[in-house]
Symmetry: C2
Subunit: 146 residues, 2 copies
DNA sequence: ATAATTAAAGGTAATTTTGTCCTTAATTAT
DNA sequence: ATAATTAAGGACAAAATTACCTTTAATTAT
């Protein structure tokens, strides 16, 4: 479904939302260990997340690391996908046809359409905060045997 | 969503179901041109489709090529995914967690679950025939400006 | 039988994705 | 100020996917 990069971006952001604050930043090493991802590759992805889209923040130096603001926690998951450039995923034709559209649909277009819309809805309505709160409770996550 | 290989497999099979019969087989060249795919790569994928799973058939030699039987047309699209080994796609955790399950769900598990089931339903209930008939009518396909 | 045609099969090459490493810049603590 | 720590950034490497090419096997038409 998603690329590894996107999976790591989602997992990392959820973990950061769970565990970090402006006064308690998380190091790359901790994050990568927690979400079971290769540290160096994860570094690249965290860079994307701190860029223009600014889902998360970072500071260098001792006691530096990554954190997320309360304001950013209110962003929908979609913003994470945008940050790693996988946001157009749900716009694409399921058969990969460039010209598939409402007026010239592919043979699966109208069957896939409602599913696509539910996917979009899922990522547009759920905030980082809402999802990260689930990870706190009886839900599986991270450092909890992936 | 799908890999290129799977997209080509779906498009090729739908096209073959549209155009071929036991008495009118389609060459690799025609199929690849029609579905806008690289011929050599498409050849590999068609081989997979003719293997054990046997979604389509082939014969070599003059007037040979690929075709699909009426019986095979009644198979669900899922069989195409199986043939190219992308059938487990819908079983996977959306966050890529190996241990995600009903009892230890990831934070997105229960939100993604109904969508996943609709995807499975889509590929299990629609037959190759049903979908290929759509491609005949006002639907976009193939040789029709991709 | 022979030649022509077509898919099968295998190896190779290009591209993309994933992953690593090393240097630089920023920040902090001393 | 200096040293230590941490992310940023760039170059590089490995792996996977996608794409190509050449030879072989099967089939058909002559």
């Amino acid at each position: 479904m998603f690329s590894k990069a996107t999976e790591y971006a989602l997992r990392a952001t959820i973990y950061i939302a769970q565990k970090s604050s402006i006064t308690h930043k998380l190091s790359l090493a901790e994050i990568a260990a927690a979400i079971d991802s290769p540290p160096s590759f994860t570094a690249k992805i965290l860079q994307l997340l701190t860029k223009d889209n600014c889902v998360i923040n970072s500071v260098r130096g001792p006691n530096g690391g990554f954190y997320i603001t309360e304001k950013s926690k209110l962003l929908p998951l979609k913003n994470i996908l945008e940050a790693v450039n996988e946001n157009d995923l749900f716009d694409k034709c399921i058969l990969g046809l460039k010209k598939c559209s409402e007026t010239k649909p592919c043979p699966l277009h109208f069957q896939y359409k409602p599913i696509k819309q539910e996917l979009i809805h899922l990522f547009q309505t759920n905030t980082i905060q809402e999802i990260s709160e689930k990870a706190d409770n009886e839900y599986l996550f991270i450092n909890n045997s992936i």
